[in-house]
Symmetry: C2
Subunit: 247 residues, 2 copies
DNA sequence: CGAGGCGTTGACACCCATCAACATGGGTGG
DNA sequence: CCACCCATGTTGATGGGTGTCAACGCCTCG
């Protein structure tokens, strides 16, 4: 079995052994294909199974009563989705495909059962969840205490860093399947202000963004604008843990 | 063993058996006492052990390079702290006592070991962590798409709801050990605007707040202003799970 | 009784939202 | 191949929400 994105991603955090691959193989059910715009789940619905996103990008979002949208996080290949299905009964968010997407459905049962039968996967899920919580906490800091320019620069840094983690490290240019409206709803600002903010980043010589093509002109400057410190992504693999063999 | 706050809290989510109490008793080490203002851990430091907050309130916060502060979440009695110690090596946040606080230190080892030896506690930690992630996601929505009045009302609703969960349901009045500067750093606004916003909530007849005393005048109105829907707190205990006996 | 922490008010400025209008560009049908 | 359309991007004018600054009041505590 070749290294999938989820293995690549988790390998950035801790030593991944054969056990996890075996667990995933054992629980994998059918593939799910979604068109751009289709939902995996919608707010208020009972949770679906846990899925692994294999291709494409998805967005976890909330529509507020007055019709505004807030994107809570971005899912990229290698990310788990619907982890909370193990805990809660209904989703509080929509999870929508931003591009055509391919997912693998896992049949896990309760977390209790999962710990007993597939501890490698249980561990990986907890790890991925902690990582996601890190991203959320950092977003709270952005939304609370950074202005629009810093926020945008920060999200761009995060996207680049997360792509690097799954071996898609961009060399100067990358395709980001987000339109300016998406950035607005990630950053908590208006569409129009996204335009101005991209213009500012361009004037500062950091990046250019046109028709979903992001050109990195000066990554160091981008990070400086953002106040980006990658530590919260916890990429440095822990050396004090050892891989676990498959059962 | 009498029901502690952590048991009360978790009982709101799933049926808690004797096993969890036994696990906590087995791993509990010394009590930690902190004065108001003292830190359990600071950003950049290696993580401490997992702790259970037994008395007092604590705040998880980040100081940004330009000296601003963002409070990421509020810890109340019954909350676990430093869960990420099982995953990551360094903390990205300060965790500071807002009041004099009492904590119980747990000696857990790695999550892997914990799953094997104390699955009841492992399960509880995952559950509590999922709950905390829910709170964070909701805060992202607040900071991104709600104005100052809605945000303040929403945090107040959340505080009341979380206190109810540990049987401290306020009947009209409660002590909230936060000063206006804390609210500013939770809500991502300035101190001065907190004053205006409390005044507005008062004019609207929802609450009064003077010297850390919060008087609930009209809870329904407060929730209406906030657009508060308690579902994200996932209080409704799952009926499809059964308690597990102690080993 | 003084000092310092905290709360409050008003004046003013700035960031960002809103609205309206227009530009661009890719896709589709004729 | 062209005409059209719709989604998306862009600009300028205007206004509101919120930040900043300065000053003052209140209360607690030593």
């Amino acid at each position: 079995m070749s290294a999938t994105d989820v293995i690549r991603k988790l390998s950035g955090f801790f030593p991944v052994g054969e056990e996890l691959k075996a667990d995933i193989a054992a629980l994998k059910r059918e593939q799910v294909e979604l068109d751009a715009g289709e939902s995996l789940i919608r707010a208020g619905e009972p949770y679906a199974d846990i899925h692994i996103l294999e291709k494409g990008w998805m967005l976890r979002m909330r529509i507020t009563p007055d019709g505004a949208r807030q994107i809570v996080n971005i899912a990229m290949p290698g990310d788990f989705l619907c982890f909370n299905t193990l805990m809660f009964q209904t989703s509080q968010f929509d999870i929508v495909a931003k591009t055509p997407a391919t997912l693998a459905r896992l049949q896990t049962g309760s977390f209790r059962e999962l710990m007993m039968r597939h501890p490698g996967l249980a561990e990986a899920l907890v790890w991925a969840n902690a990582h996601e919580e890190s991203l959320l906490a950092e977003r709270v800091v952005s939304l609370g205490r950074r202005d629009a320019t810093q926020r945008l620069a920060h999200v761009l840094c995060e996207i680049v860093a997360r792509l690097s983690l799954i071996d898609r490290k961009p060399n100067g240019m990358l395709i980001v399947p987000l339109i300016q409206e998406d950035f607005a709803d990630i950053l908590g600002i208006s569409i129009i202000h996204v335009v101005r903010t991209f213009k500012r980043l361009s004037e500062l010589g950091a990046v250019e963004y046109r028709s979903r093509r992001l050109v990195l002109k000066d990554t160091a400057k981008l990070q400086e604008i953002a106040g980006f410190e990658g530590e919260y992504l916890h990429f440095s693999q822990r050396k004090d843990l050892r891989p676990v063999a498959a059962e």
